[in-house]
């Protein structure tokens, strides 16, 4: 091996080492579900009830006083994944003359994967599908099935064990919910807690 080829070999080795370091770095940076700081092994069910959750189409906001959810979570290949399996919604109203007769999530499960964007951790729910039936014969949507579909990204806050969905979290994750071909704004604060083997253990994402 001459001097020049040795230089090329060392250069290639350094490049390969740098590349593997970058790949390793990105793998460890992927957010995982953790309980008391330790990555979750196996599956766990988390549940919660949203506070101040609302769905806004231009000119009409629908708010549900009781917005529960259930997500089955696990770490797969070093990345936190999950699926939304239930989302019962009760006591929903609007800020218009329309009432809410029924609101029903469809097409479960919805995938719920963790994602890091600019150093912050998000939960991205894909395949969201909610059917809403509005009441009051005067309401323009009376007896019309309104469908809200798309993806939703929420910012995870470890200190409060919660996820916050708002315009900023949707923008950061590149997610969007639609109804009537128009973007829907979803705002919500979702506290979470484990409900199986990890009950009362601190849930974090990192």
């Amino acid at each position: 091996m001459n001097f020049k080829s040795t230089r090329i070999f060392i250069g290639g080795l350094l490049a390969a080492m740098m590349l593997s370091a970058v790949l390793a770095g990105s793998a460890t940076a992927a957010p995982q579900w953790r309980f008391d700081g330790t990555p979750l092994e196996g599956e766990e069910t988390i549940v919660g009830a949203a506070e101040k959750s609302s769905l806004t189409l231009t000119g009409m906001t629908t708010t549900c006083a009781n917005f529960l959810y259930e997500i089955k979570i696990k770490n797969s290949g070093g990345v936190g994944t999950g699926s939304v399996t239930d989302l019962p919604l009760f006591n929903c109203t609007t800020d218009t003359k329309c009432t809410v007769e029924a609101i029903e999530p469809k097409s479960f499960p919805w995938t719920a994967n963790l994602k890091e964007v600019s150093g912050k951790n998000y939960i991205v729910i894909s395949g969201v599908h909610v059917k809403i039936v509005y009441g009051n014969p005067l309401c323009v949507l009376f007896e019309t099935e309104v469908e809200v579909t798309g993806n939703a990204g929420g910012l995870i806050e470890n200190t409060t064990e919660s996820a916050t969905f708002n315009e900023s979290s949707f923008s950061a994750t590149g997610t969007k919910l639609n109804s009537f071909g128009t973007e829907v704004k979803w705002n919500g604060f979702f506290p979470a807690e484990a409900f199986q083997t990890k009950r009362e253990h601190k849930l974090t994402v990192s």
């Binding site: 509005y134 014969p137 323009v140 071909g181």
Partner: protein
């Protein structure tokens, strides 16, 4: 007594005038604000569940070789009933008080008369007659979409429009070509054999050589505390329709002129035509329109 009679006449006249005013007032629409656009919706018919007022503000109709841009606004108004549970399609009810359900608005045809009856390829008789029109600059050609048959032939599916799939609006029309040379009965399509547009806000699946195009539901906005839905930038498309033969062009010379117009249009079977309608749509329930009517006597 004479004095009393003199007083009584003006009082009677005044009473009659007031009564007449009162009668006129009750016959007028009592809808106010945004709801006045639904004044010709048959909202008193209990089978009508929703009122619609749609304005086509742009788009184009391509028929064979000819494309006519929509530059003048066209109104489609009326109401529709409860959707069929299986097909999700509703029956349409036309505008009231003799107002047009589909407003006949002329659109200018690019190329004018020469575009559909070219001097060069016409038979000598047609050539001689058409010369007069060209020499006197009566060459402008308008195309007017008219509803073919009764308004009940229209079908609408609010759900399909919302979901951007399937038939959103079935509109049977006939195209009226208007120029003094062509006469007043030059049509493509008729009440019995209409041009049927199965318009969608979703993607189309046309016969070749046309390829799929996609409509858009547009931007939805709720107004009047949720009593009205205002949709702007709605796009309805259809590019798998066929056109029936041209009829009645040239009056008594129709047997000569119809084939010329047809040949200039070229192939008008499915896959060669396109309709793109850009609309602003307002919808309210008939119950809401009745409520506003009652609230404003």
């Amino acid at each position: 007594m004479r004095k009393q009679r003199r007083k009584a006449v003006p009082v009677v006249v005044l009473a009659l005038a007031l009564a007449a005013l009162g009668l006129t007032g009750s016959a007028q629409a009592k809808l106010v604000g945004e709801f006045t656009k639904f004044q010709y919706c048959p909202y008193t018919n209990t089978e009508v569940k929703k009122c619609m007022y749609a304005v086509t503000e742009g788009g184009e109709v391509k028929l064979g070789n000819k494309t006519v841009p929509i530059t003048n606004k066209v109104v489609l108004q009326g109401g529709f009933g409860k959707p069929n549970e299986t097909t999700l399609i509703s029956k349409f009810y036309g505008a009231t008080e003799g107002k047009p359900t589909l407003q006949p608005v002329a659109q200018s045809v690019p190329g004018g008369l020469a575009g559909v009856v070219p001097d060069a390829s016409s038979p000598p008789l047609v050539k001689r007659l058409i010369k007069f029109f060209f020499e006197n600059s009566i060459t402008g050609l308008n195309s007017t979409l008219e509803l073919a048959g009764p308004a009940t032939n229209i079908e609408i599916s609010e759900q399909h429009l919302n979901r951007k799939e399937g038939l959103g609006l079935k509109l049977p029309v006939k195209v009226h070509l208007e120029n003094p040379f062509l006469g007043s009965k030059c049509y493509i399509g008729s009440d019995s054999s209409p041009v049927t547009w199965n318009l969608t806000t979703g993607p189309t699946s046309p016969t070749a050589p046309n390829t799929s195009i996609e409509g858009s539901f547009g931007q939805a906005e709720f107004k009047e505390e949720g009593l009205m839905l205002h949709v702007k930038e709605d796009v309805l498309v259809e590019n798998n329709w066929s056109a029936p033969s041209v009829t009645g062009c040239g009056g008594i010379l129709a047997f000569l002129v119809n084939p010329i117009v047809s040949s200039q249009l070229g192939t008008t079977t499915a896959g060669h035509n396109t309709a793109i309608l850009k609309n602003t749509i307002d919808i309210a329930t008939a119950a809401a329109v009745r409520f506003i009517d009652k609230e404003n006597p």
